[in-house]
């Protein structure tokens, strides 16, 4: 277990955030850069999910895509980000009634079996509908509904209801009897403004970019308090002081009236965290929050984040290139390489038994892992720019274990768990128990199913 994480995470509950096949591309005159290329992961309540990778691997773009902060020439081109926070769903549903899907209402209006029938008639493959191998003839819609293989919820989540025309395409709030979700990839800019801060908040690497130099720190925190909690005047002032104290800024009474330049680097980052907390978020995305800080200050900030997490049951997505920081703060780690997720594992397992050759190389090149060696181990070559369709392994040119098929078959994330925990890696070497030819076949067929699944996203 990582040093800080003590909270128990309930994994039986649906995750707070689900990122599914998220794809973000940047369109330039020269090429299309697939900065984030079909990545999927979950964040549970109270959990810290680390995203690690070298510069250019797409970790920051992932965070910004979740927050809706991608600017032209970039665009989220596919996938979904589902944020399941009851309060946020209710709040947004109230504000955007036209863009809300009420699944309960759909159930009374439409029959699921009927919908399946119509979809099949429109030429949707049974495999896509059910997620399992099935032939057109042997399929019985009524049976599927009775077995709960296909539900109204799953039809909505997979976008089939849009196809049938029974829901609006620009709807992004989904309500259901057991809570709903907000699909942030479809939200409009003004809806995002209501979602950001309250709901999902973000902390950036350089606190100075998040602080306005011409206003006092207290002023900026008070602004957030006014907007998100509706407090004003003295009450807001008191709350701002309380928040500064909560992030362990000493002498908060004086500090609240000071300007950002009067704060040290660590204190600025604390002030930014205080601003984020003023919005009472459920999910905090931290994009390299400690990279610009000294180790002693980094330790303070990491400790602070862990405390806050324990007190508020906050979920954290923590992005960094520092393996040491990842080891300390995360519960679950995603390793990114050239826009793709190459390995995903609980933190202990990732560091004990990394599976993907890239993760292995990354860990090996940290000074101090092999004190007996005089030379550091390195990974040959550089991170490529992901500007092509992934029909091959992007790490293959640098991979010490690469073989011919790596150039021709795209590796999919497959289970490599040693015990019950979920550990996946996208590499043709796995699953280990199969022969090479079999694993290659497995990856090829997984890739085909996935391509079919995403048919409508991949133009």
């Amino acid at each position: 277990m990582s040093m800080y994480s003590t909270a128990l995470i309930d994994r039986s509950e649906p995750p707070l955030l689900t990122v599914e096949n998220l794809q973000t591309s940047f369109f330039t005159d020269k090429e299309t850069i697939r900065a984030v290329d079909a990545i999927s992961f979950d964040v549970h309540r109270g959990e810290t999910v680390g995203i690690v990778g070298e510069s250019g691997s797409g970790k920051s773009v992932t965070a910004r895509s979740i927050m809706g902060l991608i600017d032209s020439p970039g665009r989220v081109v596919g996938g979904s980000v589902r944020f399941r926070d009851g309060d946020t769903v209710e709040r947004l549903a109230e504000q955007y009634p036209d863009r809300t899907i009420d699944i309960e209402a759909l159930r009374t209006e439409h029959d699921v079996a009927d919908c399946i029938e119509r979809l099949l008639d429109q030429g949707v493959s049974p495999a896509r509908l059910t997620g399992r191998e099935e032939s057109r003839a042997g399929i019985d819609p009524v049976e599927l509904v009775r077995e709960d293989v296909v539900t109204m919820r799953s039809l909505v989540e997979d976008g089939f209801t849009d196809q049938l025309g029974i829901t609006e395409e620009d709807a992004f709030v989904v309500r259901d009897t057991d809570g709903g979700y907000v699909d942030t990839t479809r939200a409009s800019e003004d809806a995002f403004r209501k979602l950001r801060g309250q709901g999902i908040a973000m902390i950036f690497q350089d606190p100075l970019t998040s602080l306005n130099p011409v206003y006092t720190v207290g002023n900026q925190i008070k602004e957030a308090i006014r907007l998100h909690q509706g407090l004003r005047g003295n009450a807001a002032h008191e709350e701002a002081i309380r928040l500064l104290e909560a992030v362990s800024i000493p002498d908060a009474h004086r500090r609240v009236g000071e300007y950002p330049h009067e704060f040290s680097g660590g204190m600025r980052q604390r002030a930014v965290i205080a601003m984020a907390l003023a919005c009472k978020p459920e999910l905090l995305i931290c994009d390299e929050p400690t990279t610009a800080l000294d180790v002693t200050i980094q330790a303070q900030i990491l400790e602070l984040l862990t405390e806050i997490q324990a007190e508020r049951d906050l979920s954290i997505v923590f992005i960094t290139h520092d393996m040491g920081v990842i080891a300390e703060i995360s519960d679950q780690v995603n390793v990114m390489y050239a826009g793709e997720l190459v390995e995903k594992a609980p933190v202990d397992e990732l560091f004990d038994a990394p599976k993907h050759p890239y993760t292995q190389g990354l860990l090996e090149s940290i000074p101090g892992r092999h004190p007996e060696d005089d030379r550091l181990r390195t990974i040959e070559g550089d991170v490529p720019t992901p500007n092509e369709q992934p029909t091959f392994c992007r790490f293959a040119p640098r991979c010490p274990e690469a073989f011919d098929a790596c150039e021709a078959v795209h590796p999919e994330n497959v289970d490599v768990s040693e015990d019950a925990q979920t550990h996946t890696a996208a590499c043709l070497l796995y699953p280990e128990e199969l022969s090479t030819a079999d694993t290659v076949d497995r990856h090829r067929s997984l890739g085909e199913t996935r391509d079919a699944d995403r048919g409508d996203h991949d133009e």
Partner: protein, 547 residues
């Protein structure tokens, strides 16, 4: 590093120091309207670096490590003290002598983005030092079996006795033979030498047939290859390179004049870990190949541990601890080193290690504490004997209160504030009760929005103070109460002084000494090494056990 190598490094360090620093101080005097205090970036350091050794210099930002590095290569002027390079004090050099010496001491900067001119090609960048110093300045040695005195005309100058010659002219029957040093990009045949022999002297005339510009281009190509780039990179611009490659260009430039000593100022801090490993390996190779001596400045302690023979830990302009790397990392003696090492994130998530988290940030180097520089943050600071048993949290509260008073006294006040204070409109300290309350009551939960305790609104200041201090033992309480009274009477300096007199120990009063703490000559700058106090380590353990 293995034991064997360690002792070897030690021996060379003891045998021959290339760089010796004695009482070096570098202050930045900002002058200013009100004649403010200088910034004491480096405040009296002593150490030496042996030939072929790598000395690591670590510390938090603002501790003066970069200033120290820049002072060693004379990019900053030392305020006091000396830097002996091969026994010669270089802080007093100027003009031609300084320029000549610069060839021996070079620097690689942290950010290759800003240290490479984006309008010059990589070739031009690496060639620049060659042009500036008029390279090649051939040194010629005359090997005469009869040992006559030699005079030289044409290209080059005669070598001093201790230098390695670029061109050696050997006299012995008939025409002289010429030998060119291997590392120069030319052949023996590129040099014409003629001699005129007399009874007691030889006149040698040397002329190099290759043009200097061609030699320089050849040298640059060779350097490109040395640092792992390719010849065709000569005509490319810095923006066409990745971070790691740019740093290689910076290294090639530093090596162009064949220095003996290189200051590496955070050379890998801006690089990704896999690129960083490659650059570190390169630096290691270059050191072996050219016998370089490094001062390696970094804040990443794992990198330092890998590459350095010895490490100096700096804090607020002072060297807190200096010694053999592995020994220092395994068994840190100084409380600051201990805390710093404890803060490094461990890449082993299963490790269950207790961590010392330092409070606050380093004080301003413009006004460092009068005693030990670390005394304002030290977790194992010595307490005055009468307060030995005061509860940890309450003691922490006292330290925090003093820190707040100190900071408020120091802070730069705007003109408006100063005017207000002169007119008596603002005391600058009308919230002392809030501060005392904040300091002595246990931390507010960083949690949900609990409205301030309803009762507290109605309590007056006296009651709040009493409530905040209810847990505090009487011996401490009287002093705090007196201080609060003084502050209410606008006598803040007196209040600060009172608290300092009552609660300060030797740590805040007098600077410590550099105590030797191991057989290998490691020293630590801490009062706790004096026989009358407990050593830092057991105190740390006791502290961690309590948590």
């Amino acid at each position: 590093m293995s034991e064997e190598l360690l002792t070897e490094a030690q021996q060379t360090a003891a045998a021959e120091a290339l760089v010796e620093v004695n009482g070096l101080k570098t202050y930045y005097d900002t002058g200013g309207l009100l004649g403010s205090q200088p910034v004491k970036a480096v405040d009296g350091v002593d150490f030496s670096i042996g030939r072929g050794e790598t000395l690591g210099l670590v510390g938090e930002s603002g501790c003066g490590k970069t200033t120290l590095g820049r002072t060693l290569v004379q990019l900053e002027t030392a305020t006091d003290g000396e830097v002996l390079f091969d026994g010669r004090d270089v802080t007093t050099l100027s003009g031609d002598e300084l320029k000549k010496w610069r060839r021996d001491a070079q620097i690689v900067f942290q950010d290759p983005e800003s240290s490479l001119n984006s309008r010059m090609t990589v070739g031009e960048i690496i060639r620049e030092p060659l042009d500036v110093h008029g390279w090649p300045n051939f040194s010629v040695a005359v090997a005469d079996p009869q040992g006559r005195s030699a005079s030289l005309s044409g290209d080059g100058t005669l070598t001093r006795a201790d230098e390695q010659a670029d061109i050696t002219v050997s006299i012995g029957g008939g025409s002289p033979t010429v030998d060119v040093r291997d590392t120069l990009p030319m052949d023996d045949s590129d040099v014409d030498a003629s001699i005129t022999e007399r009874e007691s002297s030889v006149a040698v005339s040397v002329s190099v047939t290759t043009a200097k510009s061609r030699l320089r281009r050849a040298r640059v190509r060779e350097l490109l290859e040395t640092v792992g780039l390719r010849e065709e990179h000569y005509y490319r611009y810095p923006h066409q390179f990745s971070g790691g490659q740019r740093q290689r260009v910076g290294i090639a430039r530093a090596l162009a004049l064949e220095p003996e000593f290189v200051v590496l100022d955070e050379p890998v801090s801006a690089l990704d870990v896999s690129v960083q490993a490659k650059v570190l390996n390169l630096l290691d190779d270059l050191q072996d190949r050219f016998g370089l001596t490094y001062l390696f400045i970094a804040h990443d302690l794992s990198v330092v541990r890998h590459i350095c023979d010895r490490v100096a830990v700096m804090y607020l302009g002072h060297i807190m601890e200096i010694g053999e790397t592995e020994e220092l990392f395994r068994n840190p003696k100084n409380p600051y080193t201990y805390s710093l090492l404890s803060a490094i994130p461990d890449t082993d998530p299963s490790a269950t290690r207790e961590r010392v988290t330092l409070r606050g940030t380093p004080p301003s180097p413009r006004d460092p504490p009068s005693g030990c520089p670390f005394s304002t943050r030290c977790p194992v600071k010595i307490r005055p004997a009468e307060f030995e048993d005061v509860d940890e949290d309450i003691w922490e509260g006292i330290e925090l209160l003093r820190e707040i008073l100190r900071e408020r006294e120091q802070r730069d006040r705007g003109l408006r504030e100063r005017a207000k204070q002169l007119l008596g409109l603002e005391t600058g300290f009308d919230d002392i009760h809030d501060v005392v309350e904040e300091v002595f009551t246990s931390e507010p939960t960083a949690g949900e929005n609990q409205p301030a305790d309803d009762g507290s609104e109605e309590m007056d200041d006296e009651q709040r103070l009493a409530a905040a201090l209810s847990e505090v033992p009487p011996g401490v309480r009287t002093h705090v109460e007196t201080a609060v009274e003084l502050i209410e009477e606008d006598k803040e300096p007196q209040a600060h002084r009172l608290l300092t007199e009552e609660f300060e120990s030797v740590c805040g009063k007098e600077p410590p000494e550099h105590h030797p703490v191991s057989e290998t000559g490691r020293t630590s700058y801490c009062h706790r090494h004096r026989p009358e106090y407990d050593e830092p380590e057991p105190v740390f353990e006791h502290l961690l056990d309590q948590d």
